[in-house]
Symmetry: C2
Subunit: 247 residues, 2 copies
DNA sequence: CGGACACTTCGGCGGCGGCCGAACCGTGGC
DNA sequence: GCCACGGTTCGGCCGCCGCCGAAGTGTCCG
């Protein structure tokens, strides 16, 4: 069996290695980049600089550090550079860190537009490749309540859940590498929503079918009338919950 | 249902919050403390200072920071102070970070005793409250091979696994909060071992029954002759694998 | 009540690293 | 070929923070 194979190099992780990784997130500007990148899309240095309120040169330096540290990967196209999170593992790292961060009272948005953006994100957004926010958590809750998913003995889809997905024509690619179902702690709701292959398939299908739509270039999404119908019919979610003004 | 309850405070996590948490791990000395504390036991400032090679006053300052940040909790007894990781979530955070840290070639232990300590830890150790190291990974492998645990559709114990535990008189307390079975990436083997309630029960039982024994005050453990018999009979692990000199 | 001991507080030092603006480099458009 | 623009490099400034040793506090023990 595999454990009797060649003895591994036996690398001993030391504090400084761990610290070097943590340092990549231990700066306000870099952390702001990470939270923005959690939507799984690629951003340019200029976008990130503006988003975080720093000079482009500063953003460049941070991005170099983060790429060198393995947190991000980059792709160059002409005079543009695109960066995104290196992989799912790094996204999970950031999520885990965010979940562990103490809740502090919201810093009372200073401008009207910042406030509306904040509300839009809290309502519904993508988190890497799945759904988050009030809507994401409500979907997870409803699916749990209807026994479509099961958490107690390891997160998994129930037979009913598989039928449910099939009825909606949602295809979940099986992968040995990626877990089918994974709870992901929502950092606005502080409760889990659906991640893993199922969460990704659900979100992708919803975008394809026009059940949800991205708002501008942010990771906020809106539930369309068509989406409201589907979610009401299939999960019993109220129209009120699915409307951003609804709080 | 619960999501229609009172609207949460809607705290928006900002970069600086995330950074503040990450900063707790972003220092070589603090990270060294964390790795030591991963065994789940309580340490004193003096022990940690010596372990990390810094002055006691320095350790005190770090520990104050870490406690204030919610990473550690402390308990005072007379003139002693004991610190340990605040909870399972913080332990997972550290493990996730350690797993994401790039593998660097082992820094070639400088002293003989450091080398033997390193070897002992790589062989078998506790990781928070479960087993890690070559032995921990081998147990996870063997249990997977014998279909006692199942990972593909969400980690869980199979019916055969439940019988197996019952035969060994290992009782796994059911908890809604803690997952029964969780893979925990081993940072010397870079492969998963068993965590969660099952991993903890197994490790606790093994210590109770004298199948394994702590080595001195470190988190390294030794498999006793009794333990070797049990692991050979129940999982088919070779005596060679269970002996520390064996590499 | 004196001394040993665990721990803490404080002042001061030194280095690291985040920030910016200015100059520079390549690409693509006109 | 020129210009606009995204991105990068570099030098220099400043603040933060990790470190120590010395002095102080509290606890336990004889």
């Amino acid at each position: 069996m595999s454990t009797t194979g060649p003895v591994p190099a036996d690398p001993t992780l030391v504090g400084s290695d761990l610290a070097a990784m943590a340092r990549l997130l231990a700066d306000g500007t870099r952390a702001t980049f990470c939270l923005a990148l959690l939507d799984g899309r690629a951003w340019t240095p200029t976008e990130l600089a503006r988003h975080a309120g720093v000079a482009p040169s500063t953003a460049t330096e941070h991005l170099n550090t983060m790429v060198a540290g393995g947190l991000l990967v980059q792709e160059r196209q002409g005079r543009h550079r695109y960066v995104r999170l290196a992989d799912q593992q790094m996204a999970e790292l950031i999520e885990t860190m965010a979940a562990a961060a103490p809740v502090r009272p919201a810093p009372a948005a200073r401008t009207l537009s910042a406030d509306s953006r904040r509300r839009a994100l809290a309502h519904a957004r993508t988190c890497y490749d799945h759904l988050a926010g009030r809507v994401g958590v409500a979907i997870a809750d409803a699916m749990t309540e209807r026994a479509l998913v099961e958490w107690e003995h390891g997160p998994r889809l129930t037979p009913g859940g598989e039928r449910w997905l099939a009825e909606l024509a949602i295809d979940v690619p099986a992968s040995a590498k990626r877990p089918a179902l994974r709870p992901c702690l929502d950092w606005t709701e502080r409760r889990p929503h659906l991640a893993g292959a199922v969460g990704a398939a659900l979100c992708g299908h919803a975008l394809d079918q026009g059940w949800i739509r991205r708002v501008g270039s942010s990771r906020a999404v809106l539930v369309t009338p068509a989406g409201r119908d589907v979610l009401a019919a299939r999960l019993g979610l109220s129209a009120e919950l699915l409307t951003p003004a609804g709080n």
